[in-house]
């Protein structure tokens, strides 16, 4: 067998040799350009945070009577807390208090939960069309279309099995996005594993309960999927205003470069599960080369996901 397997590998090598990797000068040029783009993006992000903080401080110190909140203004998301970690400084609510989630009534359809935008009970579907997934706004498009793939919809949580026996149908896509302020052609800012799952009638709210409990029961673990001993810390974050109910949690770990060496910053991932009737959509943000999830973007995409699902369910 060895000899013949060697022959097969020789054939494979011959095929591989047909690939043109290009000349090193071009590769160096492109690599340096990407690095400059990345540096420029980082500077821009810091500048936006500083500007935001200044504006926020002005708003806070202004007399309350001078602020008129228009009707229908969305609930503001938690303000980022300054941190010694550059990546953590642009990520939402790292120092938020413990969560006491309020779970609305049972699904399906009977729920018109506080914070939900719908008023009619959604029907229970049996299959998931493409239109159930939100369209990526042009400002977030990278030029790579989302791809439907059979992916894990949640990160590992100490081995918890969450609602798998109640699944009726599920579709999952991989979505690569950029932040609106990142120019076209720059390195993307993040990726989502975005899933929509239909559960058996009345089970979707149990699934969110199970997810909350799984996060509580798994405050720390070895980083799922990693080949190193890096630890990941999980915790629930306060969340409201998404669908009938939602669960938001973060996963925080020490960043590593490709060599496995510490980068000195924290990698923060945000994961949000939103229930609309018997349907649950999950947006699991997974960053891009060490970037951390940005709460404002994750919130905006969560709202888009709910809108698309409500439109689909009619």
């Amino acid at each position: 067998m060895s000899r013949e397997l060697s022959e097969l590998y020789r054939s494979l090598a011959a095929d591989a040799d047909a690939a043109d990797l290009g000349v090193p000068e071009v590769l160096r040029h492109h690599t340096d350009r990407r690095a400059r783009f990345r540096a420029a993006g980082g500077t821009l992000a810091v500048a936006l945070v500083v500007v935001g903080a200044v504006i926020g401080a002005q708003v806070v110190t202004r007399p309350p009577t001078s602020v008129a909140v228009p009707a229908g203004t969305p609930t503001p998301t938690p303000t980022p807390t300054p941190s010694a970690s550059p990546s953590a400084s642009v990520t939402g609510a790292p120092s938020s208090p413990p969560v006491s989630p309020t779970t609305p009534g049972r699904s399906p359809g009977t729920s018109t939960a506080p914070g939900g935008t719908g008023t009619q009970p959604p029907r229970t579907p049996t299959s998931i069309p493409d239109r159930a997934f939100f369209a990526v706004p042009s400002a977030n498009q990278t030029g790579t279309a989302p791809q439907f793939r059979d992916e894990a919809v949640l990160p590992g949580l100490c081995g918890a099995d969450i609602g798998s026996e109640a699944v009726v149908d599920r579709r999952t896509r991989l979505l690569i996005y950029k932040l609106p302020q990142t120019p076209k052609g720059y390195v993307p800012d993040g990726t989502y594993t975005h899933s929509i799952t239909i559960y058996r009638a009345g089970r979707a709210d149990d699934v969110l309960d199970e997810l909350r409990q799984a996060v509580r029961d798994c405050p720390e673990q070895k980083l799922p999927g990693g080949d190193t001993a890096v630890r990941s810390r999980q915790r629930l974050l306060p969340d409201s205003g998404f669908g009938d109910e939602s669960v938001l949690f973060e996963m925080r770990s020490a960043g590593q470069d490709v060599n496995g060496d510490p980068t000195g910053v924290q990698d923060v991932r945000l994961v949000r599960a939103i229930r609309v009737g018997d349907v649950v959509t999950i947006l699991w943000e997974q960053g891009w080369e060490g970037t951390s999830s940005q709460r404002a973007q994750v919130d905006a995409d969560g709202r888009r996901a709910v809108t698309a699902i409500r439109r689909w369910l009619g």
Partner: protein, 170 residues
């Protein structure tokens, strides 16, 4: 740290073909392997100031390729656009049948086994050297090679089945 472009270019030219073979054997997809190997070289260039004095930069590069293949494959999809260095891919001859069969079978073999098999069959590395590069015990490498070959034998019925002995992989 100052990076010497000339030494990087020499390194690239002398290793690119081997690296592409390795990438193809580990990834199992020609285009994706091309993207991934380019990404690995891009990372090598970013760190070339330090890496140029590394005792085994090619092994470092293989490690990067392996990690990208297992942990970060998602990101490579979009790198296709960013790293397509010379326009659309050139037209290449269709792959030969043996290669296609092997690649299809390798996709059903665990990543650790693919990696060990590639180092053994493409680089003629002895087991001890593979164990050193992957940083696992020698016995583990022997097990991976043995099980990997048994799996391939099951998937490729035309292959002659031979006794898999420890000496065969040592």
């Amino acid at each position: 740290m100052v990076r010497d472009a000339q030494s990087f270019d020499d390194f690239y030219r002398s290793t690119a073909r081997r690296m592409m073979r390795y990438g193809y054997a580990v990834i199992g997809d020609h285009t994706e392997a091309q993207d991934l190997v380019q990404e690995a070289y891009a990372r090598a260039w970013r760190q070339w100031g330090r890496l140029s004095s590394h005792p085994a930069p090619e092994a470092w590069l293989r490690l990067v390729v392996s990690r990208l293949a297992t942990d970060r494959w998602r990101r490579l999809r979009s790198l296709r656009g960013a790293l397509r260095l010379a326009g659309p891919p050139p037209t290449v001859s269709p792959p030969n049948e043996d290669s296609v069969l092997l690649v299809q079978a390798l996709r059903q073999v665990p990543a650790t086994h693919r990696r060990a098999l590639a180092l053994h069959y493409l680089f003629d590395m002895p087991v001890e050297e593979i164990a050193h590069e992957i940083d696992v015990p020698v016995g583990t490498v022997k097990s991976w090679l043995s099980r990997g070959r048994a799996r391939l034998a099951a998937l490729l019925p035309d292959l002659a089945v031979v006794e898999l002995e420890a000496t065969d992989v040592a």
